[in-house]
């Protein structure tokens, strides 16, 4: 028995377990940084081919992204702020207590009136009181929000700090990608060297292509939704359109969120309820364009997973780590899936299985 080998393997396992325990809290941010780096890698590689050193190419991409954010902030944020302010004003109008304001919202008011009628017809049911209690508890929760923020300020600050570190992590991943790749490959024994390269290339190709396609789809759906909702005449159309685009990347669940927010806005702002039908039609058209034109062309065959697997993965991701994991769970599982299928095929070809 080779004791040195056994001790070495145990030490390596201990290091791996220790690393997971130590880096575990920032794992989500690291994964998001990798996603960010994958999306912009082709641009950096293209610039590198045009004689830019890789670090300068990554820096230039960051400057361009910064400029794009600054331009869109100057162009769209005033409208977003205006729309946000209008919404807040709507909630706080005439300085009334919040629960009274909530009760004046058209759809809540009609629901309340309906329940009062129902209470009059069916004795001891008291559904209107229950609605008032619900509104009151909502107000209490809303009142607790500043206190909650103050009590958890350390957690909030560290989360915000970590969110801002994602672009920094991504910069190093982008700038030093060849070095990182070499470092990973160098760990593979000679027997598994070619196999490791095949697997890395497979991940690079599949995951990179999928993530870039998703980004393009997200931007396209945001633009299409904003235009469609503006034509229909929905207030806050840009805000809802962007939300619809972002949530659209959560398979199956996402597309409903944008439509639901649009419908809720119609109810809250007191627009005629028939407008909900127009919102539904507008979002349906956007989804039809996305599903039958955009998705097959842009995302196409980048991901081959059964719809049921995708759905279960999205819900499992949400249960495990919230919205962020809902977004990254599908590419992550797809990466593992393509890795295993490629591994199975190549292990046989390299006569290792």
């Amino acid at each position: 028995m080779n004791w040195t080998r056994i001790v070495f393997i145990f030490m390596m396992l201990a290091v791996i377990v220790g690393a997971f325990a130590f880096y575990g809290p920032v794992l989500t941010y690291l994964l998001l940084s990798v996603v960010f780096a994958y999306v912009f890698d082709p641009v950096v590689t293209w610039l590198e081919c045009k004689r830019f050193p890789r670090w300068a190419a990554a820096l230039l991409v960051y400057i361009l992204i910064g400029a794009a954010i600054a331009w869109s902030t100057a162009r769209f944020v005033p409208r977003l702020i205006q729309e946000g302010n209008q919404f807040i004003t709507l909630l706080n109008r005439s300085g009334q207590p919040l629960d009274e304001t909530i009760l004046q919202l058209p759809f809540i008011r009609s629901a309340y009136d309906f329940l009062v009628n129902l209470d009059a017809k069916i004795p001891n049911i008291n559904l209107a009181d229950k609605l008032l209690n619900l509104v009151s508890s909502f107000r209490t929760r809303l009142g607790e929000l500043p206190q909650l923020l103050f009590q958890n300020y350390q957690t909030i600050l560290s989360t915000v700090a970590l969110v801002f570190t994602i672009p920094i992590f991504s910069f190093f991943i982008l700038a030093d990608k060849p070095k990182l790749r070499k470092a990973i490959v160098s760990l593979a024994p000679n027997k598994y060297f070619e196999l490791t390269l095949i697997l890395l290339n497979k991940i690079d190709e599949n995951v990179g292509r999928y993530l870039r396609a998703m980004l393009l789809e997200m931007i396209s759906v945001s633009i299409m939704s904003s235009i469609a909702l503006t034509i229909v005449g929905v207030p806050y159309s840009v805000l809802i359109g962007i939300m619809a685009g972002v949530t659209n990347i959560i398979p199956y669940v996402g597309p409903w969120i944008g439509g639901a927010v649009g419908a809720l806005t119609i109810l809250v702002t007191g627009q005629p309820p028939v407008m909900i039908l127009w919102v539904a039609l507008a979002m349906f058209l956007v989804q039809a364009l996305d599903n039958y034109v955009l998705y097959p062309v842009v995302v196409g065959k980048t991901i081959k997973m059964h719809p049921l697997v995708v759905l279960v993965t999205v819900f499992a991701g949400g249960y495990f780590g919230g919205v962020v994991w809902m977004l990254i769970s599908v590419p992550l599982v797809f990466m593992v899936y393509s890795l295993i299928s490629s591994l199975q095929k190549n292990l046989k070809q390299f006569r290792l299985l």
């Binding site: 590689t45 293209w46 300068a56 060849p178 160098s186 070619e194 390269l197 390299f350």
Partner: protein, 158 residues
């Protein structure tokens, strides 16, 4: 960042040892400093002990090997195909790269080996994304394969 900038400035004026070493290979002989840097980004250093097998006949072809130190033997699928000994600055796998997806021979280290390895995915990426580099490398491949045909031996690449 400043260190990277200084390194880049230095590369503009001084031919690095690594680039000079890469130019010793027929495949990279005509590349300029920038193109050599792109190639170097994709190269992996590997060490093999004497007697160790690099690959066997029928294995999937993923890597081109460039010998930096040592000697290796490449033998054909059958004894009638003979074998070829390759030395420093030779490369292994160019013919298979264009002919088939699998290895047509078995390579074994005759001495301790130091190799540079280039994935064929990276190779085709380099060729497709950089037309000038692609033309130079593919011309070099033609020269290597031409020599093999005129020498009438499957592994005469140097």
């Amino acid at each position: 960042m400043i260190q990277k900038f200084l390194e880049w400035l230095k590369h503009l004026f001084v031919v690095s040892e690594r680039h000079a070493q890469l130019r010793q290979y027929l495949l990279f002989k005509d590349l300029n400093a920038h193109q050599l840097q792109l190639v170097d980004n994709c190269l992996h250093n590997r060490e093999f002990k004497a007697g160790e097998t690099l690959f066997e006949t029928g294995f999937p072809l993923e890597v081109l090997y460039f010998i930096a130190e040592g000697e290796l033997k490449v033998s054909g699928a059958s004894p009638s195909e003979g074998f070829q000994t390759l030395k420093k600055h030779d490369c292994v796998g160019v013919a298979d790269l264009f002919a088939k997806e699998k290895r047509s021979g078995t390579a074994t280290a005759l001495t301790d080996l130091s190799l540079l390895a280039l994935s064929q995915t990276d190779f085709w990426d380099l060729v497709n994304k950089n037309s000038a580099l692609g033309v130079k490398i593919l011309s070099a491949c033609c020269r290597i394969l031409g020599r093999q045909i005129t020498d009438n031996g499957p592994y005469n690449q140097a």
